[in-house]
Every structure is written in C-alpha cells, then in structure tokens.
C-alpha cells in the first residue's frame, strides 16, 4: 500500500484534460492495488483547483504561491522535490506535454527517481511498475521496467486514457493546503506572454471534408496537385506538421496537438504516417480514409478505410473520375 501522485496541469485558469486522464487511470490502479491517490496542484493564490480536483482523488494537495502562478521548471522542480521527499509516493504521474517534458526528467534526476516518458499504459506488477511505450513513432511498442527504487515516475501521453467527464460518485477527497515550503531558488526564467500562432485565413476546424497532406507529398511543388483535388471535391486543405515546418503551407493548415483539433465528417490523409501528435487532432473525425505507400504505417490503425498506394496515383485517379463525370 503506497501513494500514487498525479501532478495536475493547468493553463490560464483551466485544468487540462491530461489531468483527468491521469486521475482516471491512477484511480483504477489504486483500487486494484490498494494505493491511495493524491492529486497535487501547484498554482497561484486562490486558484480554486483544490475543490475541482477533490471528487477525483482520495486527497488533494494544493500549493499556492505567487511564484507558482506561471509554469517555471526551476520553481516547480524545487516544490515537487520537497513534496516527493516528504511523502515518498510510490508512483508519480505527470503529463507528457511541453511542460511535463521540461519538468519531469529534471525532477527525476534531482529526486533520484527513475522515469519513463510518454507512457501509453501503466502496469503494476509484482516485480515493480512497468511502462508501455510506443517507439519508432508508433510502429513498435516497448515494455519498460525500472531499476528498483523507492518511487517511480512516468509521464503519460495525452489521450492514452479515457477522459471521464463526470467525477466518480464515491469520490470526495480532502483538500490539504500546503505552503510553498521548499527552498526555492531565484528563478532563471521569466514568463512574458502567451501568443496565438494558429490563426489564419481558413479555419480547418470548421470543415466537413479535409483533404490532408503529409511529408509523403515530397516537395513544395507537389502540394498544388493535392490542393486541386481538395477544390474539385469542395473540401479544405490541411496538413501534418512537417509540411508546415518546411513552409510548404502556412501553420493554420496544421492538424494535431500543436496545430488544430478538427472534426470533419471525412478526413482524407495522404502520405501521413499517423504519429500520435497528429492523430490526436483527428479523434473527433467521422470517417478517416488513409492513403499511404507503407502498409505498416500506424495511420492504418486509426483509419476506417485504407489504400496502400502512391498518393499521387490515387489523387490523379480521383481527379480523373471527377472531371470525366
């Protein structure tokens, strides 16, 4: 019997979905293995997060301080180090998010606790915890064990566990407020502002049909062929990240975790491998059709229909059929 800690993540006054996904999983693990579940939230004064988390955990630890208002790896690491040293949780979970990726590995080194990142499943076995991860962009999975330790850390992939909208009925955790009692170093980072990078001429989130192109398109000049198809079909052009990275299309076309979450009736993915950061953006799509030369591309695991072929062959054949009526 030990404690599982879930470190809540929030931005601009809102708890993020990953927080509840981790709580949902941790709660199931706790029930099964008789561990207690503690939600930990660091934030500015009067955040109100404690009460919102209470139904989900056995206990909520709230640390509120001006210095915790903005995410700061230095200060968050110091605060969490004190907490995990004092309370020695058996397992500590954080989101595999931009902030979690910054914080968790550093904390793991400072606290001397082993960490596995981007976990899609968590098993608690007799020999110790086991992390299930995807490697090679989802083409393979790995089962990862840990060097024996008093506690373990994992960062959890967003979307890996279900998001239960309603809090569990039997949940009523007590909320304990704790001062920021750690020796906090002077911060080496100063928050300036949040800026929106996703806006533009077209809102792909509104489209019913998205014709989406990935790195498989090969080069900038080839985008036109796909664009022409999108127009013929009356659809909207979207893309994966490498297409934006290479400046083949502006950012507002990008689908995925760092781009837009879309919900078209049909999503036609052309030359997209299906990395989780991409497919996380199409979870709300009605029907997903994937065209890829590689029959083992992970996109076929989430698509409803698949074609293993060169995307240009399929694009040309579609155009031909449409124009010839």
């Amino acid at each position: 019997m030990g404690h599982i800690f879930v470190i809540a993540e929030h931005r601009q006054g809102e708890l993020r979905d990953i927080t509840f996904e981790m709580l949902y999983k941790a709660r199931a693990l706790g029930r099964e293995h008789a561990h207690t579940l503690t939600a930990v939230v660091l934030g500015g004064p009067d955040s109100g997060f404690g009460d919102r988390l209470a139904p989900w955990a056995d206990r909520v630890v709230v640390m509120e301080d001006d210095r915790l208002s903005a995410f700061d790896a230095d200060i968050y690491t110091a605060a969490l180090l004190k907490l995990v040293t004092d309370e020695a949780p058996f397992l500590t979970l954080m989101g595999h998010t931009p902030w979690g990726m910054d914080l968790a590995p550093a904390l793991s080194v400072r606290a001397g606790l082993p960490v596995a990142t981007d976990c899609v499943d968590i098993l608690l076995e007799e020999g110790g915890p086991v992390a299930i991860r995807q490697i090679y962009n989802g083409k393979l999975y790995s089962r990862v064990g840990f060097k024996a330790s008093t506690g373990y850390m994992m960062t959890v992939r967003p979307g890996a566990f279900s998001l239960d909208e309603a809090p569990p009925e039997d949940g009523a955790g007590e909320v304990a407020t704790r001062a920021l009692d750690a020796e906090v170093p002077e911060s080496r980072k100063e928050f300036v502002e949040f800026v929106d990078t996703g806006g533009g001429e077209v809102d792909i989130a509104q489209a019913d049909l998205l014709v989406s192109v990935g790195r498989g398109v090969g080069e900038a000049e080839n985008i036109d062929a796909v664009k022409a198809l999108a127009e013929l079909l009356g659809g909207t052009l979207s893309c994966s990240r490498p297409v934006v990275d290479r400046h083949w299309l502006p950012k507002y076309h990008q689908v995925g975790t760092s781009g837009k979450t879309v919900k078209p009736k049909v999503y036609l993915a052309l030359g997209i491998s299906g990395a989780f950061q991409h497919v996380a953006g199409i979870a709300g799509a009605g029907t997903v059709i994937a065209v890829n030369k590689d029959g083992k591309a992970p996109i076929f695991r989430v698509a409803d229909y698949g074609v293993v072929d060169d995307l240009f062959t399929v694009v040309d054949a579609l155009k031909e059929k449409i124009t010839s009526g």
Binding site: P114, T117, V130, Y136, K139, R143, K147, V192, V266, D304
Partner: protein, 259 residues
C-alpha cells in the same frame, strides 16, 4: 556565444518494415538506413545561425559508435567548428545514462547555450535535454520554436498545445530543446561533408570522463519490444487506381461530403 549541440543518428523508418531482434529488445538494424535525427538537424542549424549572428563557436556532440560520426561530419559541414564523439563501448544506455555522459563531457567545456532536439525519432523519449540541464545545474526550456539572444538572456518561444506559444526570458547559460520548424536547415552536399573533414573530430571513451558506476547504471530497461496490439484497423480498399477512386468517391457521397 559558445554553443554545444547534442545530436543523434537514427534509422529512417518511413516505408520500412521494422523487424524485431532475436532478444526482442530492439530492432534488427542490419538493413536500416540512417540519418540525423530530424529535431537535431534543426538544433544544429539554430546553433550555426546564432554563431553567425553573434560570433563564438559551435561544438557538436554525440554518444555513439564510429558509424555515428556521420552525423557529426554533417554538423561540421553545416558550420559547427568542432565535434566530439563519446564512445559508450558495449554499455547499456538509457536516457539517464546518456544524460550523465553528456553532463560530464559538457561540464568541462565553456558554453553559453546547449541545444538538443525535443526528442529522437527512434525511442521518442524526449528526456535527455532536461536531464543534462539538471546535471549541469543550469536553466532549461523545452519545445522551443524561436530564440532571440539579448543581454545575457534568451527570449524563447515554447510551443504549447493547440496553436499557442509561451514567450519567456531564460538566463544564460541554459539548455533549450529545439522543435522542428524553428528554421530552415541548410542543404548539405557531399562536397561540403568532404571539406569538413579538415575540422576537428575528437573521440573519447567513458573511462576518460570519470563516470561513476551509478552514472552508468540505466534507470530503465527495455524488457520487450513488440508489434502494436491488433486493432479493428482500416478496411482496405483494393483494386486498380480507377476502381479505388470510384470506391472513394462513393464513400464521400455516402458520408454526405461530396459536391
């Protein structure tokens, strides 16, 4: 501005049928082609851009075998001044051990900035940068899409989810993990790589770094690598291109999205 950039050579995996090795702990690597990790390519370019703007030097480092020198030569051709390969011999490596090795090696250098990629395309771990920063006791920020150096500080953009950046000022020295798209990596010709052979590429081993047994003890162990669990998967549409196109158009009609 003295910059250290940590890079890795990874297999190309698109359009490749990965096979699992006999021990089931990794992939069979005999038939794979290798490239510089995409994220690291952007990190090298960013280091070279900053050097061109501000002066100073760029040192590229990798932990790997002789074959991995390929990515160091590439970095030298892009404009790095020197390179270091740390040979781990037959040691088991995980993100933690690699971070200890890099921490020791970089600890003896002078630097203002350390760059890594956000993650590598093989293990998709994304942990080494933050661990190295912690080991060196310097500030860090992850998933960086813009860097502006001003008065001993880096003004950086951290890419968050959903089309939002967080802008912050980070005191130097610092470690930043670089996101793809931050710049446009320059083209590297074979000629360029050949010319860069004149630049210094040092090789060292673990013994000379003075690492402890604890430093070299992996914190995680890959117990098994396996193929993705079966899912319902996609219904595959077969036939020649014309037949496929017809099926697809019918599907679009059925789903109510065709013109």
């Amino acid at each position: 501005m003295d910059i250290v950039v940590c890079i890795k050579r990874v297999p190309l995996i698109q359009e490749v049928d990965l096979e699992i090795n006999d021990a089931q702990t990794g992939v069979r690597d005999e038939a794979l082609a290798y490239v510089i990790n995409d994220w690291d390519n952007y990190a090298v370019e960013e280091a070279v851009i900053l050097k061109e703007q501000l002066g100073g030097s760029v040192t590229a480092i990798t932990v790997g075998s002789e074959a991995d020198e390929e990515v160091l030569r590439r970095a030298l051709a892009m404009g790095a001044d020197q390179a270091l390969r740390i040979d781990p011999g037959s040691r088991q490596l995980d993100g933690f051990v690699i971070s200890r090795i890099l921490t020791k090696a970089i600890g003896t250098m002078t630097y203002d900035l350390i760059l890594t990629g956000v993650q590598a395309d093989d293990d998709n771990g994304g942990m080494v940068g933050s661990m190295v920063a912690e080991g060196l006791g310097i500030g860090h920020a992850a998933v960086i899409t813009a860097i502006n150096i001003k008065d001993g500080e880096a003004v950086v953009h951290t890419e968050l989810e959903g089309g939002m950046d967080e802008v912050s000022k980070v005191k130097l020295p610092a470690l930043l993990s670089i996101q793809t798209g931050i710049n446009e990596p320059r083209y590297v010709s074979i000629m360029g790589i050949r010319k860069a052979r004149k630049k210094e590429l040092k090789v060292t081993d673990l013994e000379s770094l003075g690492l402890s047994e604890d430093d070299l003890t992996p914190r995680t162990v890959v117990e098994q690598v396996f193929f993705p669990p079966e899912t319902a998967g996609a219904e595959m549409i077969q036939g020649d291109a014309g037949a496929v196109a017809e099926t697809l158009l019918n599907l679009l009609k059925e789903k109510g999205v065709s013109k």
